[in-house]
Symmetry: C2
Subunit: 343 residues, 2 copies
Amino acid sequence: MDVELSPRSRQILEAIVEDYIATAEPVGSSTVARRHAMTLSAATVRNVMANLEEMGLLTSPHTSAGRIPTEKAYRFYVDSLVALRQVTREEKQMIIRRCRQAGAGLSDILKETSRTLSSLSNYIGIVVAPSFISDVFRHIEFLHLGTRRVLAILVSSNGSVQNRLVETEEDIPQEDLVRMGNYLNDLMQGLTISQVRERILKEMQSEKVQYDHLMSRALRISQQAVTMEDEEIFVEGQARILDQPEFSDVRRMQDIFRAFEQKGHLLQLLNRCMTAEGVQIYIGSETPVSRSAGVSLITSRFVTSSNTVGLLGIIGPTRMGYSNVIPIVDYTARLVSRLLNDA
Amino acid sequence: MDVELSPRSRQILEAIVEDYIATAEPVGSSTVARRHAMTLSAATVRNVMANLEEMGLLTSPHTSAGRIPTEKAYRFYVDSLVALRQVTREEKQMIIRRCRQAGAGLSDILKETSRTLSSLSNYIGIVVAPSFISDVFRHIEFLHLGTRRVLAILVSSNGSVQNRLVETEEDIPQEDLVRMGNYLNDLMQGLTISQVRERILKEMQSEKVQYDHLMSRALRISQQAVTMEDEEIFVEGQARILDQPEFSDVRRMQDIFRAFEQKGHLLQLLNRCMTAEGVQIYIGSETPVSRSAGVSLITSRFVTSSNTVGLLGIIGPTRMGYSNVIPIVDYTARLVSRLLNDA
DNA sequence: TTTAGCACTCTACAACTATGAGTGCTAATT
DNA sequence: AATTAGCACTCATAGTTGTAGAGTGCTAAA
């Protein structure tokens, strides 16, 4: 997997990758020799490029074109060549400002964050809100909304609010619903949502509850309430990929847009990226989002005050400004974590 | 504005519009004569077509191409030519089934509806959820979430739940929050949200409250809670326009995608469509969404049990299967209304 | 009033031809 | 031994030309 290269080869590869990132055109030997202050002639560069092609780092679209980096080259580039740019003061301020003015709710902040990521990078910004289930239970409430219709509202200590309409077998008057709520609030205080799920199952077995009709109903309803889908995903700036020359082909774009259409599926794929800490980079076919479409994905986790984990990042073409994007994702993840923790 | 046409001209115009809708190719005189069981020769058709062009109903992209309908022609077509297809049993069942299985919450149903609209029409489905403000107040609740942070949860009788995190000047203990909630729930019972807004303002003036620190705080917090943005918009099937040949040009697509990126703006534009009852048809430059991009918009209102009004419809190219789409929008709006009312 | 006929227009398509960017190889140079 | 100049070769791209065909408008006949 790891590639051994002479300093000169590395330098030339770097030049090619960066040139291609900048121009989206195949890079020829003379361009490298000219543009990159080399003391070498084009012919020498050609020899080196032939080697790099042999090693699977470059390909040429056809005989008389220049060469373009392969995925392997990008991989090598981000692993050991790229010089990461610093996040500028202006960018930092922009991220902070836009988070602040977004509003106090978690969703508001995260939505604005995905917007910010998109506008700073000029690619697609994504944020996956922290999963509800490892959040701490704060409050549950039942509201009688109509005959046999109960609205269950579940609040976690993060400020996330989930609500769900439940159809019951018999009509339950509001005063009973209040008692049910009180009972459950006492029972579940301090547990995480996933612990709440277990607890509900356990309680439903217990003898005491078997004979208490009201409480067994309460458990049944709240069981429905805590098993709802809870993850949110924010995708912003999809239209920006239309600017990228490599997607002027309509079919390739279809792939990407279709992938974004089913957010549920996307979510599942992105969950895989949550395992590791720090900035994660997925290049081309490594990305879970769309294997075929030549996109890369840069992500980083962030944490909330209750230690739940979310994901944020950027999706762009494989030919992406990594030196720009990686620090932005890194900084944003740290900032969002800080903001959510001392709020 | 209204166009006087002989029966024959009408018939020919209809044939051209429908042929163009089906094929997206300019329609020639012989095609019309051949395909549409006319007893006329191509030459005669040509004469008529020349007239129609004079009247601004047709244009030719160049001398030796056939002709394509203008916006004016589409307008005339939907106003007085189109033969609306019946919604088939299968389609009806599909709409009902997908609404039913979507879940009980309003958002769930509406989101699924926009999906269904999209897949039935093969264009973009949109649904604007009914505005919260004309909804009836059901319940308000305050939760202490952290120092000086209060989560306000507002429920309407429709089952819509709005929540908002409010930062307070001083820390308010949970028991005070509960009292505040009880006070407000009594005060606002049976009012619509917009009446609630007025009521809050009025109460804040009243002498009684001026001296009651707790209640004036309650009013101040709830004021923030009821002034939140509340409208939701669901847009599904954006990727489908990539299938339409007229959007194979990348720039035209950009227009549309950009329009969808700012949902707030879109919402504002769509609100204009809410004024009239029944199916509304906006063709080309008439559509508020994107004046330049050659799209049409078919909408219809739906109503909830509490008489709030939402909007649903379809966005597609101007060259759209009107005879198909109009009945689908009409039926879906009626069905959703019925579903939301007897639920 | 309708239609056949015809000259005319214009696009789409294919075949062909530079042009030039870029390569790989070889032999000369350092 | 490494580097470079030189050169033949390849291939995509753009431009040119020619042709087929679709469609039109006009005119004169039915």
